[in-house]
Symmetry: D2
Subunit: 335 residues, 4 copies
């Protein structure tokens, strides 16, 4: 497998040249932690993206960003409703339990790892409102979802309304938020709806080590600030994280990168026909392939993860060469 034929994950993709430039430019002494000029610029730059005031704090991982955001919405004796296959439930090593001091995750069902108000009702309605059962404090959805599905503006608005009606917070895990916006062609504000908090991911999309905790209730920033330090996530050279985020926001690089990744995924999807497990809306392609077919693809140098016994997951990134995507598409079509 050559690097260019790897469709394993966007997780470990290369760092975008503009991010490298910003990192190098940031290498001059400034105030430590988040007192530097770049970190102080984040609120304004992100508020421009969303067209409304928000507070922004950097964090080095999506897990930390998600959990720091959730901590503004959930008390230790409460719970978060999320999808059974949500990253916070399945792939964060129990971090929500740590950051939220033992709060629970309540698991909802939904096609494509997408939640609906009905699915949330189905989880919450049976919870007796007494002290013997853990009460929900917030809802967490992933935009785009763990299966590469995207909430439409109306979907996310309905979820926000559901949350408000029940007095719950709404968090958006946006590890691939850029891919969702690129797919929707709407504004970032529409893609996040009335959520309270967003973990806006950049690492899978061209950054090195910076995600943004975006707080649409900016007064929650103080709590995140203390919890970030307390969890060891306040880096002393924070300017290097802020620089990455600002570089990604500059001239909507985040959107351009996500469009490139999505386009590569779409190219692959077109070749898959009935093999697709899920409609391809972002940069992940889940494909029915037999064990033998997977072996055939691997012999051609393609890298990817098995997805259960008879499927595979292909992930594109901002730097996936289009000809690699086309080669994969051809290979799948030829199976």
């Amino acid at each position: 497998m050559t690097a260019s034929r790897s469709f394993l994950s966007d997780n470990a993709a290369r760092v975008h040249p503009a991010v490298w430039s910003a990192l190098r430019e940031a290498d001059a002494p400034d105030a430590p932690y988040d007192g530097d000029a770049l970190s102080r610029q984040l609120d304004e730059s992100m508020s421009a993206v969303f067209g409304r005031p928000c507070a922004v704090l950097w964090a080095a991982t999506g897990t930390a960003a998600n959990c720091l955001a959730l901590a503004t919405l959930v008390q230790p004796h409460g719970a978060v409703v999320c999808h059974r296959d949500a990253h916070v439930e399945v792939d964060e090593g129990g971090a929500p339990g740590f950051f939220l001091h033992g709060a629970k995750l309540l698991l909802a069902e939904g096609e494509g790892a997408l939640l609906t108000p009905a699915a949330i009702d189905a989880v919450i309605d049976p919870v007796r409102p007494d002290v013997h059962q853990v009460q929900p404090h917030a809802i967490s959805v992933t935009q785009a979802s763990e299966y590469g599905r995207v909430y439409r503006p109306a979907d996310i608005a309905a979820l926000a309304q559901c949350a408000r009606r029940r007095g719950l917070g709404l968090h958006v895990d946006g590890a691939r938020f850029a891919n969702a916006v690129a797919f929707l062609g709407c504004t970032p504000a529409e893609a996040v709806g009335g959520a309270d908090t967003l973990a806006f991911g950049f690492i899978k999309n061209g950054a090195m080590s910076a995600e943004a905790v975006v707080l649409f209730a900016p007064e929650a920033a103080d709590l995140v600030r203390y919890r970030r330090k307390r969890s060891g996530h306040l880096q002393s050279k924070g300017r290097f994280l802020a620089a990455q985020i600002l570089a990604m926001l500059e001239e909507d690089l985040w959107l351009a990168n996500a469009r490139a990744a999505n386009a590569a995924a779409a190219e692959i999807a077109r070749a898959c026909g009935g093999r697709l497990l899920h409609p391809v809306e972002a940069n992940e392609v889940f494909v029915h392939v037999t064990e033998a077919e997977r072996a055939a693809l691997r012999r051609q140098g393609f890298g990817f993860y098995d997805w259960g016994a008879d499927a595979a997951r292909f992930v594109t990134a901002w730097d996936t060469p289009m000809d690699a995507a086309q080669a994969l598409a051809r290979a799948i079509a030829a199976l």
Copy 2:
């Protein structure tokens, strides 16, 4: 104040060119998290430094490195004995309480923020060995200390013996461990004595965002691995953290950088005479100066933190120009 006249902190110093090179070289796809070749190299490289097998995990901050290490030694119902002025007590925003699930810090006295077996005994002896009082599980010392003082090999050996005698773990906060080794002229192994864990700092000494959790009982690595993920500190592009540490270890860059910082501090110290609050053994210089004298120094462009009402702290770094140190020395001598 020009950057070169800033003696505020080594915390926000620039990144060493060799680290930049290593970062750029690491920018090729590899396995995510810590499955990449660089991360897998750490154990061997660090074991060579200490001349004994150790397990090494990167973390983005000293706070995280300290707390992850301590979590291998302390249970939630236990306590850590540390100096009253230790960073874990004073400057980590309560992170030990978070990572150790409410374990306590028991505060000992000692000149120069250095602990001695006697100071530790004075804290532990009055603790009744019953469930009403929190029992110590570990000792944490800082090498070099928060006041720039350095434990001699015999000192640290005595502390390790004290810990062993009492059945306690011994952790070394080595945010400035390089400066301590540079001062001592001994081996790293001698400077860390029989400690169980070391948070080996590189960020203040030329790295961007990588510290090393060093475990002299390598079997503890598994616990740190799970806790690192759980605390959101497992970065997906971990190769960039490993690259920094390996670059710092390469040809003992860490030691060369620390020697440069120490030399600059020594240059300043020589001009201070009776003004010194503490002997200068690493890269921090604490100086008695009046309010008026501080103003005079600031008028000359020097940057530094006030230290109480009538003193100042000057910190040098790997990149402090020797002529800047000399200029400061002259300015202090001329007060």
Copy 3:
């Protein structure tokens, strides 16, 4: 509803006269906490019950007893496998998350709220053994189960073997352990199999406020001792809790009481025929009854909880009058 026609719960049943006597006799000054003669007697008395050495600590609730026991088996970054309907999951207000510092519960399926090795395998096998997923550290089963079902000695032995094979601890929630033993007619040791810990319940069975944490690895007692104090469960007049447990053990009062409760339940069950949701093996009877039938029973003065839309739960206790059980049986038969 007269008290005697209440089948709501064994939770709030009266205190047995022998327990009252023991409480009164305990009302003489003795050492505080668990230093009194009665508390110091527990290990020996309970070891006699199980025919092997065990350590015993009192706690005022089953929730505390379960969680203190589990804390000896599970680290904060680990998980407990339990049934989806287990009390620790459903009815303890998130206490395991609190006592275990955010450890997870992994939910298994099984008829009658009973687990099997296969059901446990189905939960654990898909857990990837990497840091992104929370690893199981222990299994928790309820004997008798939340639906009044009882593990046979061979069942519990198989579970213990499954736990050992996987390197997991095995905890038994024995809120109704007495009812299980009474049903099985085996020794207490056979009913608990090779479990590591047991929360032996007395409160539902004639005590006022004392459950026993039974540790079959007595060296775990120290940890429970510290955690009990730390969770505010070390009562200063602990002699009153120890007295209750000793009174219940005296001449196997616990077994006699459980037999009485089981007999009353069996009497009701015999009248239910095909209406039973679960075989009645302990002191809980789950019965299909329509809304109208429930109303009819309530008009006759019977108290019970609805169980979903078309069923009811009847619970007997040590003090359920047999004629009340017979009256209920007749009323159900007459529906």
Copy 4:
């Protein structure tokens, strides 16, 4: 030592006959947990005591009562200012760290274990208001103090004003609140000042196993209710705890018992003259006595704890016979 000559602790004193009667009367089935008539009576009965609306929840230990109350005032990343010798710091096995999820205790000085606004300022003023240092969220004082000293109404009012000025909560550990009120001869409301929460102790004063969490901001009750369950402190037969508290409030039994204990202590104090370490204001007498003198007292059958090398602590309780106190007084006078 006969029981009547024991001055070891009020901790393990006998249960008052009125409490026994109330317990026996409570032994009729009622709703479980805190749904019974007695538990539902607590708010009203306690509001009458304090002449203002308050919410009241029972808990089985003072440690639990203190920590559940503090959890309404302190977030996990915050701190509680308390006296260096406060029970929460010294004698609760780290329970505040557990219940408050790692929040810190900041230790203040003060004669007789009493705090003053100045002592609190001395602790808080040096805390930099930044994320690196843990910020205070509440103050905790003990009324009567750990050395048997009592805050006057003006003292506690000044502390409440200090708390309000700084935006902090104020908690009163009232393990011996009754003794304080008995000494002051003022109303309970005056003795608790403008505190937000009170852990009102009954166990040392004639109850068996019930303390009251008193919330002067009744809307905090919901949080305590969930946290009480989550910490395993919601007993299923809660009626037995409520019964104890109601019995103690009935005709001010709590006050009569405290007066008796105080009177016995005063009797002893009168004999001590210059030997007293602290003025005797409640039911604890700290006395300078040599090792030889302690031995002499013990030979006469008196029981007490050593207090360091050359002092002793004598504690009286509601049931200390006055002639026993007089005998001790004579024995001390005769030393």
